[in-house]
């Protein structure tokens, strides 16, 4: 019997086993980003920025040049890099605490400058690394170690929808929200990530992919319950879809025809 490897580990990742918890969305997202970078053929000229958050270790896992700066400042660091090396592909990988809490100003301003960078924004509605405190995206009523009785909007305010927030800015770019809680969504997520990098390669400005991502540990759920939580609780509050796209109608058609479609190195025949 002859066989063919139809799914193999991308060269966009190093060989190091990832230290995330079982069922954590970070691992899936890492793989998608790495595959996209490999597939676009830019691995050797990509510079990635790891956040402070569980994925601080991203600098060990992505198989490209990496830098690890202060909590929340990814977009500023990315700006410094991209302006210096416009020939490189620059992405900043960030959690919700990193991007939408402490890093809010940097996020809004990088977007307003339409900085030609790509942001991978992992929304798991919690501070994973520090042990489960409220994130700016923690759902109303959701328990965390700093909202032990559930997030009360009167005290802690409302969860922030980052794509919706950034969309009104004049600056052109690409804003999209996807999820990785199940296989069908994973494929769409990859497509969005690929498009975001393509936007950068086309010099069309700021791109941000918000990704709903399970954190079983700090949601105090099993991996399977976490998938369900993402589907039933997260997505209804954080609707999936594109919030801004820099491509004109004709281009979108072209895209649909030629496809920046995802190829999962899958062969269905």
């Amino acid at each position: 019997m002859k066989e063919k490897k139809v799914f193999k580990r991308t060269k966009g990742l190093t060989d190091i086993p990832m230290r995330y918890c079982p069922g954590c969305g970070h691992g899936i997202i890492h793989r998608l980003v790495a595959e996209v970078i490999e597939e676009l053929g830019v691995l050797k000229r990509t510079i990635g920025i790891a956040p402070v958050g569980c994925s601080v270790f991203a600098d060990e896992y992505f198989n490209c040049d990496m830098i690890q700066p202060a909590h929340g400042r990814g977009p500023a660091v990315a700006t410094g890099i991209k302006r210096t090396r416009p020939d490189c592909i620059v992405f900043s990988y960030q959690g919700d605490g990193d991007l939408a809490s402490i890093g809010m100003a940097e996020t809004v301003h990088a977007c307003a400058r339409s900085e030609n960078i790509t942001i991978i924004f992992v929304n798991n509605a919690i501070y994973g690394m520090t042990g489960g405190q409220m994130a700016p995206t923690t759902l109303i009523g959701m328990k965390s170690t700093t909202t032990p009785f559930g997030r009360d909007v009167k005290v802690a305010g409302y969860p922030i929808k980052v794509c919706e927030l950034l969309a009104p800015l004049e600056a052109p770019g690409y804003l999209v929200r996807v999820s990785v809680h199940k296989a069908s969504q994973v494929m769409k997520a990859k497509k969005a990530i690929k498009k975001a990098f393509q936007v950068q390669m086309d010099g069309l400005g700021f791109s941000l992919v918000e990704i709903i991502s399970p954190c079983p540990t700090d949601w105090f759920l099993t991996s399977l319950q976490a998938v369900e939580f993402a589907e039933k609780q997260m997505i209804p509050y954080f609707p999936l879809g594109e919030f801004k796209t820099p491509y004109k109608k004709e281009e979108v058609k072209k895209e649909a025809k030629e496809g920046i479609e995802v190829e999962y190195r899958t062969d269905f025949n």
Partner: protein, 353 residues
């Protein structure tokens, strides 16, 4: 080429950085250093460099982090409040061992304070206002000429040791005009040796990682100890100071920046009265001229420290003299600039003349 020009200190500093090869500046306005970003906003594009007005000082220092990681010479500047906001970033840059150059053009403080010249950020600059074990090389110019010529030395040391270097100057030095001659030919960044740790195109080499952390048990300790060795080396090799009139001095004044110039102008007053006033001007505040001061203390009974603050460098002076001489202090903080006469008054009081 290198003619004498009349320049504002801030502009001399900015131009000096550009001539020294700076090709990236990110900053945020604050008095009394606005001339620096303003100058850079047209000057850098002229030489193919990048100027960004960042949304904040926090963002500015992190843009520097990114740009420096790509290997080019970078700069930011601010004054007290903004420098405080940059401390986290400076600590990260120290941890990641990236070379950067920045300037603190000091004003009165704490808090919003005022925008008058002061030297109240000495502690912050020399002790690392940020967290953790690190040091920044601190240059204290006292003329527009030095404002213009120090950036080059700062870049060289920053590159050599992979540390942040800075210019600490009070607002008067930033705002005053004086003739300056640049004592070096403009540096073409292309002529600088390539660095083997910077990010960019990884074709034909291993991927590189720049970080300031190590979460493996025990590893960070080793690394921090290594940083300590590096700092020791800097302390041994990079001390700079100016000695004036020290031989046989009746009293030695220690002062930096604008204060040192006022003190220098007191020397002739002393001469008239038969008092020989010596002056030691630290040019690097860290590393501080410990040894030379210690030797001075062997020969002189009284040392007067003059600062435009309520007493900061005076601790380093005491540390240096190890009790071998009496250390006096005269300070005028938050916009008070001592006058020549006041200084001389102090001298006479100490010497009981």
């Amino acid at each position: 080429m290198n003619e004498k020009i009349l320049m504002k200190g801030n502009e001399a500093l900015a131009e000096g950085a550009v001539r020294a090869g700076c090709r990236f500046f990110s900053g945020y306005p604050i008095t009394p250093q606005n001339e620096i970003p303003e100058y850079m906003s047209w000057r850098l594009p002229e030489v193919g460099g990048t100027f960004i007005q960042a949304e904040s000082e926090v963002s500015a220092i992190n843009m520097l982090f990114g740009a420096s990681a790509c290997g080019i010479r970078v700069m930011t500047s601010s004054s007290g409040p903004g420098i405080s906001l940059k401390q986290e970033g400076i600590s990260y840059i120290s941890g990641a061992e990236l070379p950067i150059f920045y300037a603190d053009i000091m004003r009165g403080g704490p808090g919003l304070g005022n925008i008058a010249p002061a030297q109240g950020d000495y502690f912050q600059a020399t002790r690392g206002g940020g967290h953790g074990d690190y040091r920044v090389i601190v240059f204290a110019p006292n003329s527009v000429s030095e404002m213009g010529n120090f950036p080059k030395i700062c870049y060289e040391l920053a590159d050599k040791y992979r540390v942040p270097t800075m210019v600490l100057a009070d607002g008067l030095l930033g705002q005053m005009m004086e003739p300056i001659v640049y004592n070096f030919e403009p540096v073409d960044p292309k002529d600088l040796p390539e660095k083997d740790y910077t990010l960019g195109c990884a074709e034909g080499r291993e991927r590189r990682v720049i970080r300031s952390y190590d979460l493996r048990p025990g590893y960070l300790e080793k690394n921090t100890l290594r940083l300590g060795e590096k700092f020791k080396k800097i302390e041994e090799n990079e001390v700079r100071y100016e000695k004036i009139n020290l031989e046989g001095a009746d009293i030695v004044i220690v002062a930096f920046g604008t204060a040192s110039r006022v003190c220098k102008s007191a020397i002739p007053l002393g001469k008239e009265d038969g008092i020989k006033i010596g002056l030691l001007r630290p040019i690097t505040l860290w590393p501080f001229p410990m040894k030379v001061l210690n030797q001075i203390a062997d020969k002189v009974e009284n040392i007067l420290v003059v600062e435009m603050n309520i007493g900061q460098m005076v601790e380093d002076v005491k540390l240096a003299v190890e009790g071998k001489a009496k250390v006096h202090f005269y300070g005028r903080p938050s916009g008070g600039i001592p006058t020549t006469e006041e200084i001389f008054e102090q001298v006479k009081k100490i010497l009981k003349r």
